[in-house]
């Protein structure tokens, strides 16, 4: 257990901004003395209760289950209630608090989550039944522990939006539904009760699935270990397996895979054609020619590397191991 801990000085710099009142965003400094294991949220509530009741933030359960108090703690998306101040002070010398990213600030640490929720609603987050496969009358469906395991960590998601805040693809492209929505979609795609798996996979391929940058910042930010980036990877695999490669991202991925399996290295010209098709490739001719002038070898078909058999074997083994069960 936490031994009787000595109080340490904890300097807080907290983002303050009230658009309704005008003025510029600023940081307000507060000095507290806290035990090192004190959660950041407790520090902020102490500020509210004892120093400055005008500080606005969302919070409720203080036990990492309601998902209200996500914010930036020293620039990282965190749940304030389960982030202790001690390590923050040790590493950064202070606790700098900002509102989450990718959501407009309404006031101080309170952000407008309407975009986050509407992206979530885009994936149709509810069971869609196949009329030919109704629920069993008067009793629960049978689902083995192995089937329950297929949900992976997704039932732990508390929709705190930490992943959404951390995601550069959300920032770059409004088409991208965000890590939480896609992890949620995965949860329905592997649900044996759901009757719209193929339709869900078809739609998501065309609405932003391949915009994920595979940076894994969502998985790093997730306080509940939902691992959204892994679920996005699984969705990509399931989508290609169910629908084939139906748009740029998936065609690029499949083309990449085929190139390597064929020759052990990329054939850039072929990959462009595979990704964008003949017509799309024409559009990129200018850029292609400029590149070819600098690196003429790009125009030649790359030779097949020695030991390509080994590569193919590796692929086969990996595919067996990694296949997402459905």
């Amino acid at each position: 257990m936490f031994a009787e801990e000595k109080l340490i000085p904890v300097p807080f710099d907290v983002y303050r901004f009230d658009p309704a009142q005008g003025g510029e965003p600023r940081y307000q400094h507060y000095e507290l003395k806290l035990a090192p294991h004190t959660p950041v949220l407790s520090g902020l509530l102490k500020i509210r209760d004892e120093v400055d009741p005008t500080l606005a933030l969302r919070y409720s359960c203080r036990s990492a289950i309601c998902g209200s108090c996500a914010m930036l703690v020293n620039s990282k998306s965190r749940l304030a209630c389960r982030t202790p101040v001690g390590p923050e002070v040790a590493k950064h010398g202070r606790v700098v608090i900002d509102p989450m990213r990718n959501q407009p600030v309404l006031r101080d640490l309170v952000v407008d989550q309407r975009g986050f929720w509407s992206n979530y609603r885009r994936i149709e987050p509810r069971l869609l039944l196949d009329p030919s496969r109704p629920m069993p009358e008067g009793r629960p469906t049978q689902m083995t522990p192995a089937q329950v395991d297929r949900f992976r960590e997704t039932p732990r998601c508390i929709a705190c939006a930490s992943c959404y805040s951390a995601c550069p693809a959300v920032e770059a492209d409004p088409e991208f539904p965000g890590p939480m929505a896609l992890a949620k979609l995965y949860r329905f795609v592997v649900d044996p009760r759901d009757g719209a798996h193929d339709e869900r996979l078809r739609k998501v391929q065309l609405s932003g699935l391949w915009l994920c940058l595979r940076c894994h910042l969502c998985t790093e930010a997730c306080p509940k270990d939902v691992r959204p980036s892994e679920r996005i990877r699984d969705l990509k695999e399931l989508a290609v397996r169910s629908q084939g490669a139906t748009e740029r991202g998936s065609r690029h991925a499949v083309g990449f895979l085929e190139n390597i399996a064929e020759a052990g290295q990329l054939n850039e010209m072929k990959l462009v054609r595979q990704t964008d098709g003949l017509v799309g490739t024409v559009g990129q001719l200018g850029q292609g020619l400029r590149l070819a002038r600098k690196k003429p070898e790009l125009l030649k078909k790359p030779r097949t590397i020695d030991g390509v058999e080994e590569v193919r074997k590796l692929y086969e083994a990996l595919q067996k191991d990694e296949e997402v069960p459905l």
Partner: protein, 557 residues
């Protein structure tokens, strides 16, 4: 002004289930909540939901266990209906998409819970509330219901002998608006924040209970407050009863499984009032660890079981207490957890006010009587949420049009301005801290008349201080200082009712333990406390307990 047939206030499990039922009955439904629905405190429920679906179990046993658990204060007709509804309710939630834990054969997994004759608690790891909340929210997404997210209830409007709607504050803009409705369902959860040491979320401030009380509804059995035996020592964060259901031990400083002295047959799985009293008795007798606590041991269950079935508990203990339950005992003490009392309703969720309904922890039917069994509260939210929503929609179909007038709205706006315009006065946070101090120290597990009387005096002094409360924040956007002040006003009303009820009830029953009246007194007290608001404070009357087949017996576990 907005207008709907039915307005449901509170969007946890009870509120969402009520909204669903009312919408399915054809009503135009609005769901109003001060939090986003998925942030509701229902999501914090860990252990599970009871339904006697096992081959060896029976609805009859579930009824008996609930009656006995209630210490014979639960209404037996309501309990029968409640337990009979359990199986269909769980099946429905499974069909809505709840991801329950499963046994090897693919059926719903069950675990043992306190006060239950058989393992009948169906669960989703140790986040059953979250699993159910997600499922009902997802299901409700496919049903036409207007949601007012982050709207704070200010008052229930009653005129011409019936409900006319509500006045609420849009927290985002600071606007005060009337929402006319023929029927209003209160599903705002408990007022656990009357106490400082509580497992409840900060948002559990009894707003709907207080609004109903102010509007003239009876509050029932408010003195019955459940203290959960195992909350983390420092933070009061809940450690599910499922931890004992999976085989966890409670031990004192001497290494004894002390529950053998208090519940020789079922030990750690006695009902919550019994276990909480035992822990406090041990600590008071000097058998606690230094600092005053006992430990919950899970080490003997093995890493696999602990980490798979009690994932959240592992996470909580590690991040909030610096304890790894796989290898270390968890220091625990009881904390306020649940309110058996609430807005008095019948089995259909109807209150004494025409057009006003209540469900979930905000309501008191009563099925929990003097002590609730673990696993029965999630079930209650769904069974009686549906009842209240169905009844509200049926009533609204034939009720005359309702209206919230500009005067209704102006009255609330003026009250808010009065708080904000005050130049001096105390902060709501100060008053709240003093209230919690009073309730923690004087209206706890063991209650003596001196402390109860002093608590009442202190609460009334705090009410006087609250009338001069000052809101420092001037912003119209997310003014938490303002909602803090309103919430503290609600808590003070309800604390007073709890104290008055506890002073009057000169017996010990379930969670209400009077050291000066240590025995249950069926002759005089097998009846419900009904509290009505008057200018002088709560006025108590009593209502009979409905009983059908189960004669009161001494409770032994």
């Amino acid at each position: 002004m907005q207008r709907h047939d039915v307005v449901v206030v509170g969007a946890g499990l009870a509120g969402q289930r009520a909204a669903l039922a009312a919408a399915q009955a054809g009503a135009d439904v609005a769901l109003v909540s001060k939090l986003h629905p998925l942030r509701s405190h229902s999501g914090a429920a860990q252990g599970g939901i009871n339904a006697a679906v096992g081959a060896e179990d029976s609805v009859e046993t579930h009824i008996y266990d609930t009656v006995k658990g209630s210490d014979y204060l639960g209404d037996q007709d309501a309990i029968e209906f409640f337990c009979q509804s359990a199986g269909p309710t769980v099946v429905e939630m499974e069909h809505f998409g709840t991801i329950f834990s499963r046994g090897e054969d693919g059926s719903l997994a069950r675990r043992a819970f306190g006060g239950a004759g058989f393992p009948r608690t169906i669960y989703a790891a140790d986040r059953t509330g979250l699993a159910l909340l997600q499922a009902i929210y997802e299901h409700l997404g496919g049903v036409p219901v207007t949601t007012y997210e982050e709207w704070f209830l200010l008052s229930i409007v009653v005129r011409d002998g019936r409900v006319q709607g509500i006045v609420a504050l849009d927290r985002r803009t600071g606007a005060v608006e009337g929402i006319a409705a023929k029927a209003v369902v209160i599903a705002t959860g408990p007022a656990g924040r009357v106490y400082g040491r509580t497992t409840n979320a900060h948002s559990c401030t009894g707003d709907g209970i207080a609004a109903a009380y102010r509007a003239g509804a009876y509050l029932k059995d408010m003195e019955f407050v459940q203290f959960h035996p195992t909350a983390l020592l420092e933070s009061g964060i809940l450690i599910t009863e499922g931890a004992r259901g999976e085989g966890g031990y409670l031990k004192n400083r001497l290494g004894e499984r002390f529950m053998s002295k208090y519940a020789p047959h079922v030990l750690e799985l006695a009902s919550r009032d019994v276990v909480s009293r035992a822990i406090v008795t041990e600590v008071n007798a000097g058998n606690g660890f230094p600092g005053g606590y006992v430990t919950l041991e899970l080490m003997h269950l093995g890493r696999e079981k602990v980490e798979s079935r009690l994932q959240e508990i592992c996470d909580f203990s590690r991040s909030f207490a610096g304890i790894d339950p796989v290898t270390q005992p968890i220091p625990v003490m009881p904390a306020q957890h649940y309110m058996m009392g609430g807005v008095g309703t019948n089995i259909r969720g109807e209150t004494n006010l025409r057009g006003l309904y209540a469900a979930g922890e905000a309501a008191c039917v009563s099925i929990h009587g003097a002590n609730r069994l673990g696993g029965n509260s999630l079930l209650e939210t769904l069974v009686f949420g549906k009842q209240a929503g169905t009844a509200a929609a049926a009533y609204a179909k034939d009720a005359p049009d309702a209206a919230v007038t500009p005067a209704d709205v102006d009255r609330e706006t003026a009250a808010l301005h009065a708080l904000e315009d005050r130049k001096d006065g105390e902060s709501p946070q100060r008053i709240r801290a003093d209230l919690q101090q009073t309730m923690d120290s004087r209206v706890g597990i063991y209650r003596n008349p001196d402390d109860l009387h002093r608590a009442l005096v202190e609460v009334r002094a705090l009410q006087a201080r609250w009338r001069a409360v000052r809101v420092e924040d001037r912003s119209s956007t997310y003014n938490i200082d303002l909602t803090d002040a309103l919430e503290v006003g609600h808590l003070l009303d309800l604390a007073e009712v709890i104290a008055v009820g506890a002073i009057a009830r000169t017996e010990s029953r379930g969670a209400h333990t009077r050291v000066d009246f240590p025995k249950r007194d069926d002759q005089n007290w097998m009846r419900h406390t009904m509290a009505r608001r008057t200018p002088e404070g709560p006025e108590l009357s009593y209502a009979p307990v409905a009983y059908t087949r189960w004669e009161p017996k001494e409770r032994v576990y």
